[in-house]
Symmetry: C2
Subunit: 455 residues, 2 copies
């Protein structure tokens, strides 16, 4: 059953108040799919559908809903209902929800939570956005080194139901300092009488609360982790991050990089939910900045106006030179930016990258110049019969093209690397920025060569 | 200890043949970090370092090495050593390695494997690249519905050590058909006497062997999975995919999208390991194609040569108009391409997207036009004293700019959506492609307005 079909079936069953049939369909769906279905429903139907769901599925669906729909639902809840939902949620999800809600709703959530949850939520809310602390949860299983495997299983059975993951357990000493990690796999493959202290891995990968969440996500990818403990500056265990949240961070950061590469200030809201004015505000500063830069390119043309007046055919090649230069430069810059983001290229590789791009540029430049030389003489001169397009004009354009491609590739690979060395974000040094610089270079080269060869 | 320090320490210990000290350092490192260290070593030292490592760590490090170093090591192995390494590897890793090796090495690997492994490897090698089958492993834990929880734990204890994940177990009937899934968490939270059939989830998310691996990776992200079963077309369980492989696919696919957006044919090798000629071959077809398209833009200028000769100042605004149009268009196209990739925008949203971009374009167009109008009159006319820049010229340029921005945003959002509807890859409709189209539009608009207002 496709999503559209599911939605129309659900709507029909709702209209006809066939709630038990609706329940049967919903129960077999994944929470995220029910949430997407809810987003298509008329607002007043939402609480009805929500109350049809079994408690646990309802809470899981609640997490996946849009902030607006969550707010709508919370306002329709009695305090008792709100408390039931909150009890089913993981703390990190509750914190995510709180961050999107207006103050009045936040107050209600905090008032309805148990005192321990309230304390934990307030603690989590303190960590800066983008820090490891902001995406961690405090619901993990902690063991002691002196426990046996059997005791560890007892503890997991007793407390596991509320924990976000039970598969990695953390071993702490009496001061809550992280001393080791043990997986349920290791517990299962050892004797019940074995002590945790002797089977745990005491060489633990962990993150600091203030560590950037992007670097945390990279650790998950690099070390194939399912969970990562988070410690404070005295190495006390304060929370864990699970792989699903790390995947979300990776996706978010990539979107940000792509947006920056297209000269857009990153936004964390989906496109269709963002108002036109907000989108405008994220795009216009860059457009203005790049437009002002482009007027300098115009100035170069302006100062060669008299040369162009003598040989107007030169103007016709300007778009091709600018576009090809821009495209060559952005190929290099985007490759290097992505390589830096994936850790495949490091600032120390500066010279290797430049040397490689020089060779690529030489190959590209010669090929493009040869193609252009042939095309100009064959098409423009012979077929179109444009007599002003002399062999010398074709040579001027081709030579300019080759030099432009070389310059574009060098600028394109060097600027992101330089940005990285200076601890700026390399993603900003992508196509639009490179294009503007390369445009100016290509025109200067063009007019310099034309002046000495043709005029 | 930083990577550079670790490498120089390791080299020093190697030189002085202090192998036991070296071992102490290496033992506490993660396999991927040891692999990176090995890549910095002189080739002849590699087998020495490798033999220092404990067997399991050695195998884990082997998986993380470059194909070239793996080949080097395999060639230095005796058949017995090779067999030991292969026994420690997961089957999907062995298959990945085989795919990179020359035929002679492949033959040795297959000859050294056990008959069962050889059969499984040959089976896995049959699946097309980019299919779910190509990234799955056949090492999973399967249970029967009639088993009790206690029996399930016995089975996990007996066979778990060789399985890539034990946390999700798959329940099959006598014909190997997938009937349910049960997690170790559920096993731990239920009584030992409970039957698997009564606690398993029989509503199983799964992938087909031929399913595209990108769509598989999206399922991991969407449903927060740790593992996903893969079934053949008779619903028989043939393998599983784990979350670490799904993360790799997500990263790979994003890199491909970014490369396509920058008009580069995607490559699956890291930049620094790719030869200059290969990089050239991935870039030049697009540069040539876009260069040829750009000559049409040149043709437009050519056909207005006489108009430009009358009012040469018009030429100076061409780069600004082309660049701003290109940037406006790529902002829209990149936003829509990423939205489509993340599933935030669907082809059915066509009209919503167009309507939103029209409003954004109106805001951007008016702002940019006003800024340009003011700038031309203030800077070009008053400060620079260029008398040929009349109010009418400023108006012509500003009006062209506003129309160009509108056209650029519409082309930018509509082409990726149209590509998606026609089942082409939207990522190709990014900046370079949009820029070429928008260049032509902006010049046509410019000369049409200039002809009617100024000449």
């Amino acid at each position: 059953m496709s999503k559209e079909e599911a939605l129309s079936t659900a709507l029909e069953l709702l209209e006809n108040r066939k709630y038990s049939e609706l329940r049967t369909i919903l129960i077999d769906m994944e929470p995220i799919d029910i949430a997407l279905l809810c987003e298509g429903l008329p607002e007043e139907k939402l609480p009805v559908v929500y109350r049809i769901l079994p408690k646990e599925l309802a809470a899981e669906t609640f997490v996946e809903l849009d902030a607006e729909l969550q707010e709508l639902l919370i306002k329709s809840f009695s305090d008792k209902e709100l408390n039931e939902v909150l009890r089913e949620l993981y703390l990190d999800d509750t914190v995510d929800i709180i961050e999107e809600m207006p103050a009045s709703v936040v107050r209600r959530i905090l008032n309805t939570s148990s005192p321990e949850d309230r304390a934990a939520i307030n603690e989590l809310l303190k960590y800066p956005t983008d820090s490891a602390g902001s995406i961690m949860t405090t619901e993990y299983i902690s063991l002691k080194g002196s426990m046996t495997v059997a005791e560890a299983f007892d503890r997991i059975r007793a407390t596991g139901v509320d924990k976000e993951t039970i598969y990695t357990c953390y071993v702490t000493d009496d001061n809550r300092r992280l001393t080791g990690v043990v997986t349920v796999k290791e517990l299962l493959l050892n004797q019940y009488t074995e002590h945790i202290g002797s089977i745990m891995d005491d060489n633990v990968l962990c993150a600091a609360t203030g560590e950037d969440k992007e670097s945390v996500a990279e650790k998950f990818k690099r070390y194939d982790l399912l969970a990562l403990p988070v410690v404070d500056n005295e190495n006390r265990l304060v929370g864990i991050i699970t792989v699903d949240d790390a995947i979300d961070v990776l996706t978010e950061e990539t979107t940000e990089d792509i947006e920056k590469m297209a000269a857009i200030t990153p936004s964390d809201k989906p496109y269709l939910k963002t108002g036109a004015f907000v989108i405008f505000a994220k795009r216009i500063p860059w457009l203005l900045l790049l437009m002002i830069s482009a007027t300098f390119t115009g100035g170069i043309i302006g100062s060669f106006e008299s040369a162009l007046a003598v040989l107007p055919v030169l103007t016709a090649f300007i778009p091709m030179l600018m576009d090809t230069g821009g495209n060559s430069g952005s190929q290099a810059s985007v490759t290097v930016i992505r390589g830096l983001a994936l850790g495949e290229i490091r600032p120390a590789d500066f010279l290797r990258v430049v040397w490689k791009e020089m060779r690529v540029a030489a190959l590209c430049g010669i090929t493009l110049a040869a193609a252009t030389f042939g095309k100009i003489l064959l098409v423009d001169r012979l077929i179109m019969g444009n007599e002003t397009v002399s062999v010398l004009v074709a040579f001027t354009v081709s030579l300019t093209l080759a030099i432009t491609v070389l310059a574009a590739k060098l600028v394109g690979c060097m600027l992101p690397l330089a940005a990285k060395c200076l601890h700026f974000d390399p993603a900003v040094m992508a196509s639009p920025f490179i294009t503007t610089i390369v445009d100016a270079i290509s025109l200067l080269v063009y007019f310099a060569i034309a002046s000495s060869l043709l005029l």
